[in-house]
Every structure is written in C-alpha cells, then in structure tokens.
Symmetry: D2
Subunit: 342 residues, 4 copies
C-alpha cells in the first residue's frame, strides 16, 4: 500500500548516501568538530546572510526543541505556542520535562498573531504565574499552513517590543519556503527570528536539523546543553555531510519543491472533485474532508493518518507528500478517489 502517512517514510536522497559512502573510512574528529560540519555551517551562513550566526546540527526535532527552550528560559519562564504546536501535543511533554510550561493558545489555522501573544502577556501579571519569555511557531505549521513575510514581521515586531525570544521550528521549513504562496527567504527568517532550525529529517536527509542561533545571549555554552541532553552525536560529521549536500547545488529546495508539487497536484484534483479541506494549506500536508465511508475504503488501499472529526459522518485526514513521493502514487490515489467519490 502506498503511504501518505508522513514525509519521513524513505531514507535519504541518493546524493547524500553517496557522500557518506565516499567519506566512510576517513578518520574524523568526533562531536561535530570535523571539517564537513564546518563546511556545512559556512554554506548555511551564506544562505542566511549572517557570517556570525552560531549553527549546531542535532539529530531530531523534539530534541532540538527541548534543548533550545531549556537553554533559553530561566526556570519560571514559559513559552507561548499554538495549541496545535508540536511542542504542545506531540512531544510527550518533553518541554515540561525540562521544567517549563507551554502556554497553549487556541488558533484558527495553527498560526500565532500579535493579538494572541498580547492576550497571553496580559493574562500573566505577577510572580504567582509563569513569565512568558519565548514565542514558538512552526513554518510550515503542523496543519500545513505557513507565515507570510508580513505576518512574520508583525510577530518579530511584538517579540522585540516585549523582549520575547522568537523561535521558529523549521522541521518543514523546506516545504514552506518552496510553497507557491511563500514570500520569505531563509535570510528573511534569520533576520526576523532569534533562533530557528532548518529541518533535514522531513526533507530528504537520513536525520538532522540545523539550528541557527542569531541572538547573542543565546549563544554561550550551547554545546554544554546539547551534550547534557544526550544530543551530541559521536560521529557528528554524519550531520555535517548531510547538510553539505542539502546546501550545495540547491538540493534542499529541489526536494521540497518536489514534495510540494506532488501535494499541489493532489490538492488540485481534490478541489476539482469538490472536496473541501480542514486547513487551507499550500505545502506538503493536505487535510481533506471525506465521508467516513470513503475514509474506510481509502484505508484499505493507502496508509495515512486521521486528523479529526468534522461532523457525525465526516472527518478530515492528513495526506503527506515527500521528496521521494512517486508521481504514480499520487496518480493512483487520485484515480481511486475519482472512482469512489459520490
């Protein structure tokens, strides 16, 4: 059965594996102190147009989130996040396990706004309550939506005004940046946030997130934090090699574009068949609303995740495409829906 369950069902782009093969027997310094990592860092610094950014490569997203948040906050400080945010729902309380409250904010579309942030600030008035100090957003979000440049500028503005750190989870950064409605660059994101990461795991690497620290006060001793959380990979050059490949010859963008193109084709077909979506997404995640009967049939032929109940007879599901999604898989799904609709 073809899988639309997630964007990490396959290994890595062949160019990445090839680079690993070629360097396999060379001796490297451990713990990311090797030359591949430093080369990857310089490629990313160029891409974000900041020669002074601190950049660390970490195996996975939950790990990165918990390290960043526990490094940045004092014990009584909290992070504001959309209720749908990965840190609030899908990390088994990883942030709380480091001692910090996630202030979950209900949103319409998985995105925070200055007004929502202001509300959270207004509610927290004194030392009997946590102190909000960081804003967590994802781009693209957990429900496939994304921030425009104007929206991110507005968030950046309120965060600077209120002295909040703005942290962007970029596990699906590639898909956001290559979306047809995107108007942001990595350099914009670097300029507008304090700390963010560029996801490799969900965009064709075996694993790896490149964390970019822009704010000076968040830089010191960061490697202590990585090590303490068990996230300092012994053979750290494996991360370096992957990000070298991702940011050479445009591979990072190419792979994300393919994922988006596959989702776009699916989206157009579904729209054509008259289906609606739980969220208006232009990235590699789609949330179509189907009848429960159709979903049952679909599940016998494809794999995917349920999203949520819409009404008594309808639900939304999540369909995810990736750098490796075969166009035949998409076509097969479209045919199946055409055959089984109405």
């Amino acid at each position: 059965m073809y899988s639309f369950t997630n964007d990490y069902s396959e290994g890595a782009h062949p160019r990445i594996l090839k680079a690993m093969m070629e360097t396999n027997l060379a001796q490297n310094a451990g713990y990311s102190l090797d030359c591949h990592t430093s080369h990857a860092v310089s490629l990313i610094r160029k891409e974000i147009d900041d020669p002074h950014a601190d950049i660390h490569m970490i195996t996975g997203g939950t790990q990165t989130n918990l390290i960043v948040i526990s490094a940045a906050l004092r014990p009584y400080q909290a992070v504001i996040a959309p209720a749908t945010g990965h840190i609030n729902v899908h990390e088994t309380g990883a942030i709380e396990a480091t001692g910090h409250k996630v202030l979950a904010v209900d949103t319409r579309d998985g995105k925070l706004t200055p007004a929502l942030i202001q509300q959270a600030l207004d509610f927290h008035t004194d030392e009997h309550m946590v102190q909000p100090k960081m804003v967590y957003i994802s781009n693209s979000t957990e429900v496939g939506t994304q921030y425009s440049k104007a929206e991110l500028e507005a968030l950046s503005r309120i965060c600077r005004l209120k002295n909040l750190y703005l942290f962007m989870d970029g596990a699906r950064m590639g898909s956001a940046l290559t979306s047809p409605i995107n108007d942001l660059t990595l350099a914009d994101i670097a300029r507008l946030t304090d700390i963010f990461y560029i996801g490799g795991t969900k965009n064709g690497a075996l694993f790896g997130e490149a964390l970019v620290i822009r704010r000076e006060e968040l830089k010191p001793d960061f490697r202590f934090m990585i090590k303490q959380r068990g996230a300092m990979l012994a053979k750290g050059w494996l991360l370096g090699i992957q990000f070298e490949e991702l940011f050479q010859n445009n591979l990072f963008y190419e792979m994300a574009s393919h994922a988006n193109a596959m989702a776009g084709k699916l989206r157009a077909a579904l729209t054509g068949m008259g289906y609606s979506f739980a969220y208006d997404s232009h990235t590699n995640q789609l949330f179509p609303v189907f009848s429960n009967d159709l979903i049952e049939k679909l599940a016998k032929n494809f794999t995917f995740n349920m999203d949520k109940k819409i009404d008594e007879t309808h639900s939304s599901i999540r369909l995810v495409t990736s750098w490796a999604t075969a166009e035949e898989g998409v076509d097969e799904l479209i045919r199946f829906l055409e055959d089984n609709s109405r």
Copy 2:
C-alpha cells in the same frame, strides 16, 4: 481599609496560638516525629473514618500540590485540571518545574465532569503524547463553587474505571464542607478520592495543610518526597499542634462556618440590590459583577482583587471572607454599596 482580598490576612485563631505558647519550651522530636503530630493524625483518621490513611502535614498548598503530583506520576504522565485550577494558573509553573504537563480543561464553573475527563483521555492516544494519569480538582474551587456528593461520586467512578488518581486540593475544604448547599463529609471525600488535603492556612491556622493518602501505592517513601522538596519543617510539631486544635472541639468547622456566614450575608445583600455574580458560589468567595465606576469607588474604601472583564463597562471582582472577618466590616461594605448603587 477593610480587606476582602483573601482568607489569609490575619494570623491564627487564639486557641491555636495559646496551644503554641503553652508547649513552647518543651523539647520535641524534629521533622514531624513528635507526639502532637501523631495525636493530630489520629484525630484526622477518626474524622475521615480510616485508621490506615497516611497523613502528612505540610506548610503550604503549592508545596503540597507539587509534592503530591511529582510523587504520584511517572515522568511522562500528566494531570488533568480545570483551566482555572490553582496548579494551572497560580503556582508559577510549579508542577511543570517537577517535569509534568498540566492538561488544562476549559470549564463553565471551575469544576471537572466525567465527560471532560473522557475527552482528555480520548485525545491522548499513544507515546507521542503525554499519558493522563491523575485528575486534580479543588473543593471549594478557585471560583467559589463546590462539588456535590453525586458529582464527586461520578468523578470517582470514572477515575477508578480508567485507573486515574483522583486528587482533591482542599485548601478551602472547610468552606466547602460548611457551605449551606454541601452534602459531603470528610469521610465521603476520603472514600471517593485517592489523595486529598485539608487546608489550614485559609481556615484559621498560621499555616499548614494536612495531606491524606488513601491509595496504597501512593504511600511508600512519601517522607523522602517531602524532604527533597524542602517541605519537611524542622519544628514539625508546630503543624501538629495546629491540627490538634483544628480537629478538637470542632474548631475547623466553626471557623469555616463563620467565613461562610459572612459571605452569605454579603451575598444576600448583593442579590437584594440586584447584582449578579460571575460564578454561583455558596462558599467564602463571591464574584459580584459591578460597573467599572463602582469598582473604582469601592477600591478607595476596601481592598479586594479584580476577577475579570465582563463587558466594556463591567467587571467581576473577588470578595473573600475568613474565620476572622468582622461582621462590622461586612456591614460597612453593604452600606457602602447601598449608598453607591445605581
């Protein structure tokens, strides 16, 4: 200015202070291993009709909450609480600081129901999310409401069925149990919950909460938890002496009854003047809705806390009575409102 800010603005009932004076120079074993504490424990065991309950006395409520929750849960487990619950709002993230997520549930009246608990359980399906394992309720609640016997039985039933610990914060237990609409006894509460505490701080003690552990698996090594969190009072007999007085000669109930009587008088007068309340409370906390103009005048003559904005021109405030509230203070407030209304 007379204060209706809270129920811990005065010291302790004179009988409590007298008992402290009389025993002041006697040598006692430290850390609650003294005879006053063991006598107080036996008085409470009798009151709750359980000779086998483990009972520990702890200085304050936040401390008790964080010890109980961190003792009961494994690292990935979470506690379900009303969004208005003390642990969710007013403890500066004390629970999260022990590593656990508070699953905040929106309620109408500060009270959980089986349906709300079931919803939280349904949402948490696998190891990518925290595992709900405890239910936290307050009686009376932070908004002055309280549980009936039928409601508590229903909560107890679902918790046992789903293997959740039911934990009752009884910081204002006295006010709940002596409320005119109450139909619960301490023995009922002991029977229906797994762990709960009886508040002294807000009911005429200098400080102190008596924690009652009923569930066998929560009993072992509890004193280690108390000590580790810095909550094992060196001169622990001070807690023992206070609870001896509270549970001799009915003092605990007498003091709470007075607080409720004062609130009842105020409530009747306000209702008579046509005021409404943000929450329908019959305990020692009232949340009347006033015009912002009236609130401004009131604040020049009495002290109290704001509750919340009701509309552009109205807000609710919180008025709290205590064991020590002078009837003259209440009368003065009523007169002031009569003079300044409409």
Copy 3:
C-alpha cells in the same frame, strides 16, 4: 531525657511569640508584602551595611538552598561543595532534583579552600563535563567548624577571579558569629560573598531564614523562584515579625551566645576529663569521641545523634546546644560523664 539532638527542639524565644500574639488579628498583605517584613529587611540591611541588598525570608534551609542554586545556575552548571555539606548529604537530593550536580570535595574539617576549588576547576575542562559556577560553604559548618576572616577573604578572591558565585549557608550563622574564635561580622560576610542567609530556625525562631542577595545578576525575578518552589508563605508577615525581633535589641546574637556558652562549658569539661573531639569546633556543635560502651550508657539518659565510627571500640557523637538549652541539662550531662568515665 534531656535532648542534645539538635538546636531546633524547642519553639521560639518568648519575645518572638509575644510579637506574634500582639499582631495576630491585624490584617496584613500576604506573601511577604507586609510592613513587618519591610521593617525586618531594613534592620538587616543596616546590620550588613548594604542598603541595596535584596532580602527574602524563606521558611527553611533546604528550601532556601534549592531555590538559590536553581535560580543562579544554568542547566549544565554545577556547585562545588564540601563532601560533608548539607546540600550533598542531608537534603535527599534536593539540588539534583532541580537538575544540578553537586561536585563534592573531600575535606579535613568541613571547610573548602582555594586549593580545593582550583582542583575542581582544573578537572572540568570542556562541554562533556558540567561547568562549575558556584561555591557552597556553610558557616558554621555541618561539623561545627567555622571560617576566619582570612579564610573567607581567600575564598572570595578565587571566586571573583574565576567568576564563581560564593554562596554561604548560614543556617548556623549565629553560632559562628558569636564563637570565641570568630573574627567576622555580618557586614564582612555580605562584603565577601555573593549570596548568603541568616538562619532563624536553628537560633530561636519558630522557622525562617533571611536570604541576602548582593550580586546584581542574582536579584531579578527572585520572587518567581520562591513561588515556583512552593516557598512563598501566604502569611509571610510571620517571617517578618520573627526577623524584626531577632534584629532588634540584639536578640539574634544573645541567643547564639547562650548556645555557644553552653557548648563551651561542655567542651571545657570534656577536655578536662581528657576526651578528644572528631572536629575542633568552637560553636554549638561538639563531636566528642567516646567508647562505644560509654555511648550506650549515655543513650539511656540523654538523646543525641551518632556521628561516625572512629575505631573498633570508639565512635564520635554529636552534641548540640541551643538558645534554649538549660544549664542544668548541661551540668547533668557533665556529672553523668564524670561518674561514668574510665
């Protein structure tokens, strides 16, 4: 049986209780925002000769230690302490429970030296190890010894040079400052440390430690830390009243002097009888070495704690005097030893 078990076996000095009685029914602001606390703060500021120190009153020592250390350190930082230090042995892992390693250093007499600190610094070289950032000392120490001005100046010097916070646990500060061999004042201690506290619990208060923060960077938001750890007493003025009494009319020093005088009498008598001591202490804790036979007899007539095994037939015990120790109790113990020695 007369108890030499500890210095917190009795209640409080009568002047303290009297002050509590007299103010019992006055309404006070909660959470240490009252006038007694601010008066006590100004008395202590005068005593330490620093009008800008931040001063917070906290119920007990373990609580104070865990709040200070978790407030001061970033997650990967550690505190250097003597192996005998209270935080290393007798707090049930309270410091580790806040996430920080205690770097225990073996000492001869419970005291740290610049050389011992330098050794700990030399061992910790990179991000694979914790980063030492604070030095914890007690005065008087857990084994009854104390720091001279020259010793404290030397510690202060290395801490400033190496950018380490110097934190003094003063649970038994009174006994240290009134010891016959002492040459330090509270003002010296304030000048030479970054943060320290003045113990009330072990010197005639019902409970309470006055924490003095001198270093600017440790001051911000400290009340959030106190609240989060459950240490913000609702009726905080109880702490204020006690420290008002302690630092009016010399009561703090008077009580400690009495405890030292009683220990001094005992020490002289024991020395006269030819006994040796496990530690050379001139404070209110003595550690005489007795034969195990004698200890057995002694334990039938007095209560005290064992210290440690000296050889197959001898052990040291701990004898503690307090502000309330009756001279008759001391005389009785001396007589008993005279009657039972050799």
Copy 4:
C-alpha cells in the same frame, strides 16, 4: 596524523552502509515500528537467549543512560556508580538534569564490588538522604577493564538481595566480550543484570545502542520515556538495519575482535619496551605511562587523549583502537615508540 583518539573516528562497516543503500527507497513505518527493527530485535533475543526481553534501539549512549535511569528511579532515588563512570564524569550532568543524584564511589580499577555497594547502602539511612536504588557499571569500563563472570555474579547477587537494579552500560560491550580474558556471554549478561545495552556506535555502526530490558517492572511505557527525551528517531529503521547487520554473520564480534587484536599487538609491543600501564586493560583501550617529553613528541605524529598525571615527569595517555584501525597505523606507532624510547 593517524588517530588513536577514540573508537568512533570512522563511519560504519561497509556491510552496514550497503544494507542502508539497498533499502533506501522502500517506505517504512516510522519510529522503530518497522520490519528491520523487529528482525533485529529477534536476532538479539536469540543471542541473549530471552524471547521475552524488551529491546529498544536508541541513537547514543548518554541518551540511553539518561532515559534508563530516569525511567527506573522515583524522584528521590539515586544511582551508585564508579567515580570514573561515564554518567558521573562525561555526560555534563545529564543524569542530574533528570533529577537524580549519582553516588560516585572511588575505585581502584573503574569497577564496583559488593563491598563498595554495601558501603554506599550503609551510609544512606533515612529520608534525609537519597535512597540508592540502582547500580551502574560499564563493561568494558571507561578505563579499559572488564568484569569476569564471578565478579558479575557477585554484583548480581547483592543487587537482588538489596533490591537494587543492576544496569550495565555496554557502549564497549563488544570489546569486553571478545577480550582474551573474557568469560562472559551476552546471555550471561542478560541473566545477571536487569537492564543493559549493546553498543553499536563504538563498534562499527554509524550510531545506535540496543537497550535490553529484562526486569518486568522496567518494561511498561518505555517508549513514552524514549519519545519524551527526544530519542525516538523518525527513521527508526536506520537503527534496525544496523543491528540486523551486526547480529547476522557474526559482524558484531568480528569487528570487536579486530579492535582488540590491534590493541593487543600494541600492548605486547609496549610491554616489550618496558612501559607500564595506568590500568591493566585487555580491551581496545590502553593507558600507557610515558614521560612527558615522549608524549610531546608523540603528539606531533599521532592524535590521542591525555589520561592523567602520574608524577612530575610522567603521565598516562589513552590509546584507542577500533573495528577500522589499520594495522599499518599500529605498526607506525610501535616503530615511532621504538625509535624514540629511552
């Protein structure tokens, strides 16, 4: 310069990379719920002769250690470890960051004994101290030594008698099991411990440790713990594939044997030249004692780590061989030493 710095300076055995290549484009279930992982699990279960063991694959050793310890212990419980243990020295306080004290025990050779464990138990008497509940050992140890069957049986016996969990860090398990003086099998280790892991990172995998849980009470909900600590790899089959290769066709033992053979050759040559060793190791780590002059020359031609100062003119260094160490590298080092000795 040839590197003897560690055993993770090269990538992975070519058979492992080849297996990754061959399966690269297949769609797999995420989070270790794939068929490669379940195959690897059954291979290991067979190897340890326990069809019921729970087996989880985790990226690295520090991560595994912190997950195991925080999953097994209640908040006030502690783990006994050799002072040289990885968790005590080289994990930046990772264990303390989960809230638990490491009770470090000085040893002669990096190994615990029943007597040392008993001493730690005797010291911890009540709730004012942490409660020892787990014993942590490494095999081979951080100083290259290893446990004999008799030694491990003795440790196992005292742990079962005292109800302590016995946890073996097997980051260098391969080298221990293929050492010429070894008399243990993986099945023995499974039988004698409660939980242990088999290291891949330091024995020819790209990364990965296979954690084996034998004790029933440690099994439930373990995947929640892995996820919460950010250690659940999205493309978990990468771990599965590696352990499939390691435990097919003897690769795990073959690679470790090579590392040991290279160290053995070096050890024989050094002994022949009259050098002594700081620790008597028969695994892939050697700690020869050299003059500081010789070390300085050596450092210009090879890379390695310093161990410790022996006297004013001598130090020990650490030389590590691996599955990939070239015999030519070893020969070159021997020649260099022959040329430069005395």
